[in-house]
Symmetry: C2
Subunit: 445 residues, 2 copies
């Protein structure tokens, strides 16, 4: 089929009629499909059921240094859990603090602490007139929700195939002292699945921000979340890069086991320089006596070590890979050459990003919904929910079973076509009144 | 033996010599005893080992409403956990939010949110010149640490046998709009073990604070932590009392299972009015996707219901009761009638409070330490660590085994005697130079 843009009005109208018929068929199937969030599937959850068996009442819940994990204490995590997560995060175990079940919560607390107490002795942000964050877009909606909640002004920075536009970041942070941070998902980014190039990471490490309390919020959520065994992305380790660049305190690194063991029942961590860790612990010891050590021990006993964790991740990949491939196959089959959308094909992570023609994303997501498919809300991948081109849609292939996913993607592709045809028809130079006097309404008839 | 205050200088000097000899004996025993924190003992931890068996890989981790506890989601807790903790907290399950492993963390987050976003639409505290909290004293050091960390000015309010001095609180909150809260441990208080009288609770509920965003921070940490089966304290339920008094939004109620299941691996909760809960959830949904539901389910499966939890608490009581009684027995045997100290004998909770002669607490704790016994730091029970009378010492009988506890309390009583004799000798009107020219130094000879 030829590109839609090259079609005549008559061809588009005929196509529209055909597509609308197919759409009504989908509506008649009473589908209930959800691709809105990056949730692991039930099959993936089943992989970790062994976690429920590694600690029993016959087991000794004492950790290597003699600490009884059942009682109070240990602010920054038991040593064996620090080692496991440090290996996962590619840092040394003395560079990390283990938290509770959510790295999002750690990021929130990091911003909150900066608001009330400042960063390493600098003025608390709540005492400043203006605080700004750089937001590579498209990005993760929950990052943007945190900064918006604290009244932090967000500045869009376009994502390139190599990562965020570093020329723009370089220039902005150098001249504006009110810019205090940048959100990054550096590996298999949310939603595009882009991994930052070595040059990008080095340029991050070498930033010369005007603000002494500027920090890179390096959310390495998908650090070992590969889809393929051999074709894996690798990014430079940011803390080491910062240290080499003479900026040892420039980055906070976040991660968790949420998409490794059980989401919501995993363990999270922050990695940072000693100066940053000392600063963080000053607050942490006021906030808590310590996080859940039994769950830390459970993770260590289940995975054994980082090798055990990597083996475990292969089982996740075996479940996720066919889903990512099915999405790509269906989009390719349905949309290739039509000129109405592009999409990413990442080698890891939890998302793919689809870019429609400008001004179509909201309508596509809305059309999907009316036929029983929930996609991530259009705009969600941008600060304030505002996609300036209204074109980016996040695809989350992980949760639905493969058969459902195929149906969902066929429906999605159909909606892309329908909305694109509508757009093209609407933008076509007028030829007479007849054609436009009978708009087809999918929801009636 | 007669009261020390009635002894002559010669009698005191002879006594001092005898006591110093006994103290040196203790020093020779190389003791390592720790009574500094309210930690459950190993025996108590063993009571909950069954928690490690209630969820296995053969079990279904789906909760009553069909939610898969292993995956993301459920912001405010699974319904069965809400019911269990609501029963424990004497509220309805729609009045609570389940959190992670630490009620201290919930309290910290509550203050932090008030600093950055204010309480129910009122001005964020970080934008105010002055924020003050009322602190019934003696009280819980970690409460005071939170308010101090946020630069909140703390005002001491004396504890009476019925609870805090309500005349003082009434007057202060009515006239000073900068007073935004009061810390309360209303049942088996930390450290005295006092339970607030019905009149005290009602007066709390009827407060007319000048500040609309004033809240009672009701840390009901020991709500079912009785030592005796029949002699139990009962306090009025604060949220119901506030509602009746026409002040439904006046209180936040906190609790956790830290001293019921495993400290550090339990579940915590806040209970409050719907207005407060809506206000809290606005923030909570930005901070996290949800807390550890598997651990919530584990608690529900282990305890079954509130009756199961109450039965479990009897086993705790059976371990704790002899320890509290031993402390009282030894203090009575050693100190009764000497006029050098008083102590509380609570019917629940984790602490007893000892009051020495003015100006002696620090020396007593220091003397204990030099013989191998760590007590809670003197002054810790007061804001800023400053006990104006230097007389209050927190006794935490829970952690050491009974035999160690007996030794510890004998040593403690001895130190009380020694320091009291020193104080009395020092304050005695001079009779000549001879007596004072030879101070006895316990650490030499």
């Amino acid at each position: 089929m030829k590109p839609y843009a090259e079609m005549t009005r008559e061809e588009l109208q005929a196509l529209r009629k055909e597509l609308a018929g197919k759409y009504r068929e989908f509506q008649g199937r009473d589908l209930k499909l959800d691709m809105s969030r990056g949730k692991p599937s039930v099959d993936q959850l089943d992989l970790s059921m062994g976690m429920m068996d590694v600690l029993s009442s016959d087991d000794d819940l004492t950790c290597d240094d003699g600490t009884d994990c059942r009682n109070y204490g240990v602010l920054d995590g038991i040593s064996e859990a620090k080692e496991l997560l440090a290996d996962m995060m590619e840092v040394h175990s003395d560079q990390i603090i283990i938290y509770g079940n959510s790295s999002l919560n750690v990021m929130y607390d990091t911003i909150s602490r900066s608001m009330t107490h400042g960063v390493m002795g600098n003025t608390p942000w709540c005492q400043l007139d203006k605080v700004k964050f750089l937001c590579p877009v498209p990005g993760y909606d929950r990052h943007f929700a945190i900064t918006e909640y604290f009244g932090i002004e967000m500045i869009n920075v376009p994502m390139l195939p190599t990562g965020p536009d570093m020329d723009m970041i370089d220039e902005l942070v150098a001249k504006d002292e009110s810019i205090k941070g940048v959100w990054c998902v550096p590996k298999y980014s949310n939603p595009q699945g882009i991994s930052y190039s070595d040059d990008t990471v080095r340029r991050f490490a070498r930033l010369k921000p005007a603000a002494k309390d500027f920090r890179i919020y390096w959310d390495n959520a998908y650090t070992i979340h590969h889809l393929y065994d051999w074709e894996q992305d690798h990014i430079l380790e940011i803390l080491a890069a910062c240290k080499r660049a003479g900026n040892p305190d420039l980055a906070y690194k976040f991660a968790s086991t949420s998409k490794i063991s059980f989401p919501g029942s995993g363990i999270a961590a922050i990695a940072a320089s000693q100066n940053n860790l000392v600063d963080i612990k000053k607050q942490l010891r006021i906030q808590t006596i310590g996080h859940d050590k039994v769950n830390q021990l459970r993770h260590v006993r289940f995975f054994g070590d980082i090798h055990g964790m990597m083996v475990h991740m292969k089982y996740h990949a075996d479940i996720l890979r066919p889903k990512f491939e099915a999405v790509n196959d269906i989009l390719k089959r349905e949309l290739d050459g039509l000129g109405i959308g592009t999409w990413t094909t990442p080698r890891g992570g939890y998302f793919m990003a689809f870019d429609s023609l400008d001004g179509c994303a909201k309508s596509i997501v809305s059309k999907c919904k009316k036929a029983g498919l929930i996609m991530t809300q259009a705009g969600a991948t941008f600060p304030y929910g505002k996609d300036p081109h209204d074109s980016n849609i996040r695809i989350a292939p992980s949760y639905p079973p493969l058969d459902d996913l195929r149906i969902a993607m066929e429906l999605f592709a159909l909606c892309v076509k329908l909305v694109s045809v509508d757009k093209l028809l609407k933008e076509m130079p007028e030829q007479g009144k007849t054609a436009e006097s009978k708009p087809i309404d999918d929801n009636k008839q």
